[in-house]
Each structure stands twice: as C-alpha cells, then as structure tokens.
C-alpha cells in the first residue's frame, strides 16, 4: 500500500471502508470530525473500497493510533445509520416542522372517524346539533 504523499514519513494508520455500507457522504462527515486531530486522506482502492489514512496532527502512540482506527470505524457506521434514519424519516420530519410552525392551522388534522349524534340530528329545531363527520 502506498504512503499518502502529504506526509510520507509520519506515523499513521489506515482504515479500510466498505463503500457499499458507508456512503461517501457518511465518510466525509466522519473525516470532518476527525479533522481536528488528524489529517484525513481518502483514496479509493476500487469502486467498493476506500482507504482512509489518518495522520495525527501531533504526536501519537501506537495505542492512540489503534484507538483512533476503532473510533473512526464506529463513527463512520454511526453516520451511515444516521443517513438511513434520515432517509426513513425526512418526509415525516418536514411535515412535523410544517405543522409545528404553521400559524394558519391549515395543516391541522381533522379528527379521525365519524362523530355524530343521530338523536340530535333527528330534531329539526334542536338547540344544539352534533353533525356527522362522515362526509370527509
């Protein structure tokens, strides 16, 4: 495996990423958070696999590097999970926020089901009438 060109002799670790599980976006978000402590270089090995070279910005022991490798993998999986949650919930989230901040009430749901009082409906001059909701 080749050294990244930026820091050829620096201690580093490499994380293999399965791009069929972790999307490019999830990988970039992971690198974004690791960029404080590491220089992150991504190299696509092939269509399905990428190698991420993590080079510490300051000194790090072998144990630190091993820990960083594990943390990077966990973080990448978490970002992949977040993407899947978002894919499953983005529609309902948009509706939720629209409802939360709608002043007009146009997005209020009418109550489910049919509600009426047949006895009241039979009285032509009743003071109160509870009318059927069945026309919805």
């Amino acid at each position: 495996m080749e050294q990244p060109e930026s820091m050829p002799n620096a201690p580093r670790t490499v994380v293999e990423i399965d791009l069929t599980v972790i999307s490019a976006e999830a990988l970039l978000k992971t690198c974004h958070w690791f960029s404080r402590d590491f220089i992150c270089e991504i190299r696509n090995r092939n269509e399905h696999t990428a190698d991420v070279f993590l080079t510490p910005r300051s000194g790090a022991s072998a144990a630190d590097l091993a820990g960083a490798r594990d943390a990077f993998t966990t973080s990448a999986i978490d970002f992949a999970l977040r993407e899947r949650i978002e894919a499953k919930t983005s529609g309902i989230r948009d509706l939720l926020l629209a409802k939360a901040f709608s002043e007009s009430g146009v997005l209020e749901d009418a109550p489910e089901g049919v509600f009426s009082d047949p006895v009241e409906e039979m009285k032509p001059d009743g003071m109160f009438k509870i009318l059927s909701n069945s026309s919805r």
Partner: protein, 497 residues
C-alpha cells in the same frame, strides 16, 4: 378459586410494521442516547438504533413501549400523534415567538475600573462625550417599544452606568410611560460594579422597581486581581454595594455574575464558597468572552477550553456538595441546559438558542445610537469589526434593522439544524449556533465545529449532565430538578403533604 389473567400478548397483536419518527443519537457510557425532534431522550442498549433501522425491534418489549411513548416510533395500532409531537417541537422553539425581549442600553462607556478582560474599551470617568444623549435615548426607547414582545426587559449597562445616572433617570420614566401606553410589561435591570452606588441611587431604583446585577469574581484576592481600580478595593466596594443594595431593594433584586480568567481556573471551590458566604443562591460559571478588550489581553486572561471544562466540573461538583449540605445554590448554565433536557421548554438565555438569539431576542443600543445584534457584537465593534452593526436608531426602523444585509447574513448562519457538524448532532435540540462567536474566533459565522470552543464546551457539558442523569443518583437528581423547577429539593425521608 384462583383467578389468572392472560398475558399481555393476548390482548393486542404485535404490530405488523414499525415506523420511525425522526431522531438523532450518540453513544454515551456504553449505551445509545436517542433524542427526538422535540428534545425528549432515551438511554437504550447498544444495538438499539441498528435494530430500529433494520425494523427488528421486539414490539412486546419494555424498550419498545418506551420508544413509542417518547415518539421515536409508531406502529399500526397508533397514529404518529403528529400534532402532539408538533406541539412539543413548537414549545421547545418558543423563544422565536413574540419578538425581541431583551434590550440593552449602553448609557456610557465611562468606567473607573480597568479590568483586563473587559469587553469594551474604557474611557476616563469624566469624558461626557461617551454618554448617551437624550435624543438617542428617545429613539432607542421608541425602537424598543416597537418590538411585538409583550414582556420586555430594559438592561442598562456601560462602561459603568452609574457614572451616567442622569441618563438612567432620563430613560426609566420614559420607558415606563411608553410601555404603559403600549400595554407591555417592562422589567428593568442595571448592571453595575456598585463601586459608586449611593443610598439616593438605590432609593430611586427601589421606587422604580429596578433590579441590580453586579460582578463578583470570587474572594478578595481574586476579584481585586481580575478587576483593578484606583485604591485596589473593587472587592470591598462590590461587597459593600451588594449589602446596601439588598438592604434597600431586597435580597431577590440583587444578582451577581462572575467571569473566569486564567487565574480563576485554580479557585473553583473558593469562588463557589464566596458566593455561599455572600448568601447568593445562584452562580454562573462563565468562561471569558473572546471579544473586545479580552482579545488584546488574552495572554494574561485566556486559556484553552479544556481547562475551563475542568474548572466547570470541579465547581459543579462542589456546588452539588454544598446543596447536599443544606444550602441551596444553583449553577446557572447547568440550570439552563437541564431545563432544555428535562422539560418541554426552551429558555430565554439568548446565547444558547437556535435560531440564534442575536437580534431575534436581544438588541443593543450603543451610547452613540448604533444598534448591534448582541453585546458581543458591540465588543467586536470595539475592535473595529463592524460585521454585526445592524443600523442606527436615528436612521433606521425596526424593519430595516432586521432586513438589512448584516442581519440577513447573520440569520443565514443562525440555525444549528442546518450547520455542518450540528445537523446530525444528538444535542442539537439543547444547543445553539452563535454566529457571532464563530465569526470572532474562527473568522466564519458558520464555524468549524470540530475546532470550535463553543462546540467543545457545550458537547462536554451536555455529555457530563447526561452522565449524571444516566447515573441517576437520587440525591443529585433531586437537587438538579430543584434547580429546574425553582422548588426546594425534597429531602430524603420527608413525605410530601
């Protein structure tokens, strides 16, 4: 004859399909912490999120019932109760309703202190050209009362505002009169170091219902080091002023704030003990602001955020110990965050809001008529950075302040829901954006969260608080809940009436 009941599964079939509602998550202490769009949270075993995404959750489990109750999932037997959840989201964002509530009037830049960390440049005490004119005060009061908010707070500060007491006496009755005409409730707070306070001034404040907020950085050696003035007696003046103010205004009308300098970091316990000795019931462990004069003197006053977090944790631990000993004192930042975490509500604390509180919830009217988006924005202007200068009371209206380029540029970076690093963050509901801080410290209103001191502080403090919640020590949680509710902590063994 013995009777038995069928198991619960006999009464309701397991749902055919489980649907997710939006949520974010993080890992904490070997568990997964799930947070809903409304800020409700749940600690769950490792693997729960994976199971939810794969729709392999046991619908008969206790965990499933918790997930359903806290709006993380819904199924065929329940509607998503979207209106209920929407109401909770709306409640959390209550701070964006109603218009600007906090209006800061900088009545003078004059001050007799020369604190290293002071957020504005000091002027000598007798240079009247740095006082607010009556014409500027009139326009600022008018603009303040143009806010649609029914509850407004007038915060008078400086410099040292008591050096311009005549300006204060001009502003207060006019603000009261206009508030009455507009049907607004008006609170008035004067922020003063109290070195120049007199009984006449305090009697006036009492008659006008004015509250006082002062500075107390800790015990005498620390306070006097942080806050030099002629005579080296800032602490003695502050303590004397606090006692006189309490005697005339009442205990509840006098508050104190501290600022954490590099020197303060070694004295968390001593600072808390000073607040207890002075009979305060709240203390705000605040980091130094990276603005204004503090930037010039950061080699003396500045420090890494990691050191502040150690200070905060040590201070909080000691505050809890003091509470366990029977004296009630709350840490204000903890109180603010716990209110967001443990209740459906947001808070009025403008530095921790998304959309950011700048302009939206606070406006600063400088002595010269310039209007800034926040006090920190004014501090930046003292360093010749005018990015957050929204306009001028003599030339602008409330509408032009809010629709000008400076405001619109800032608003674009004001929602953490749309910021890199924040949009996926489990703590988004409890945190903020703060474009002014990120502009000041990183040269970019949007900011880079991995290297942001703001992010480091809030992530770590929130994680620390969640660790305490997860640990669920009864005594600690009783104290923390008492801070949130404002009620005294219920003592062990005392029955409720």
């Amino acid at each position: 004859m013995a009777r038995s009941f069928y198991p619960p599964e006999q009464f309701a079939a397991a749902p055919a399909a489980v649907h997710l509602l939006p949520f974010r998550f993080t890992r904490l202490n070997g568990k997964e912490l799930l947070v809903s769009e409304a800020g409700e949270f749940l600690f769950a075993p490792q693997g729960t999120v994976q199971s939810l995404v794969a729709e392999h959750i046991d619908a008969n489990s206790e965990l499933y019932r918790d997930l359903k109750a806290k709006h993380f999932v819904y199924d065929d037997s329940s509607s998503p109760l979207l209106d209920v959840l929407a109401t909770k989201v709306r409640t959390k964002f209550d701070h964006i309703c109603g218009g600007t509530k906090l209006h800061i009037f900088v009545v003078t830049l004059r001050c007799e202190h020369s604190c290293d960390y002071c957020q504005v440049s000091r002027r000598t005490p007798n240079r009247g050209e740095f006082d607010m004119s009556t014409a500027t005060a009139d326009r600022a009061i008018f603009m303040m009362m143009e806010s649609p908010a029914r509850e407004v707070t007038l915060e008078i500060q400086g410099g040292e505002p008591l050096l311009a007491f005549d300006v204060i006496q001009y502003i207060i009755p006019r603000a009261r009169k206009l508030a009455g005409e507009k049907g607004k409730n008006l609170d008035i707070v004067v922020c003063s170091n109290l070195a120049c306070v007199t009984d006449d001034i305090l009697n006036y404040f009492r008659d006008e219902g004015v509250k006082v907020s002062t500075s107390l950085d800790g015990p005498a050696f620390l306070h006097n080091k942080n806050r030099p003035r002629p005579g080296h007696d800032s602490y003695e003046k502050a303590v004397e002023g606090i006692e006189r103010s309490r005697a005339i205004l009442g205990m509840e009308s006098v508050a104190a704030l501290m600022t954490t300098t590099a020197t303060s970091l070694d004295y968390a316990v001593e600072i808390v003990d000073e607040y207890v000795r002075r009979e305060f019931h709240s203390i705000f462990l605040r980091p130094i602001s990276p603005y204004g004069f503090a930037v010039k003197t950061r080699h003396r006053t500045g420090y890494e955020m990691g050191r502040f977090l150690e200070f905060y944790k040590k201070g909080l631990a000691h505050i809890l110990k003091v509470n366990r000993g029977g004296y009630r004192i709350a840490e204000v930042y903890t109180q603010i965050l716990l209110t967001k975490i443990l209740t459906p509500h947001g808070t009025r604390y403008v530095d921790m809001q998304s959309p950011a509180g700048e302009a939206w919830n606070v406006l600063v009217y400088n002595y010269d008529g310039v209007v800034y988006a926040s006090d920190e924005s004014r501090m930046l202007a003292e360093m010749n950075d005018w990015t957050f200068r929204l306009g001028n009371v003599h030339r602008d209206t409330r509408r032009t302040l809010f629709t000008g380029d400076p405001a619109l540029r800032m608003f674009q970076a004001s929602c953490n829901q749309a910021l890199a690093g924040c949009s996926d963050c489990a703590f988004q509901s409890y945190c903020a954006a703060d474009p002014v801080y990120h502009h000041a410290t990183q040269g970019d209103m949007y900011g880079n969260r991995p290297t942001s001191g703001f992010c480091a502080r809030n992530m770590e403090v929130i994680r620390h608080l969640f660790s305490m919640i997860e640990e669920d020590d009864r005594e600690t949680m009783r104290i923390l809940w008492s801070w949130v509710t404002g009620e005294p902590a219920i003592q062990e063994g005392v029955e409720c009436a």
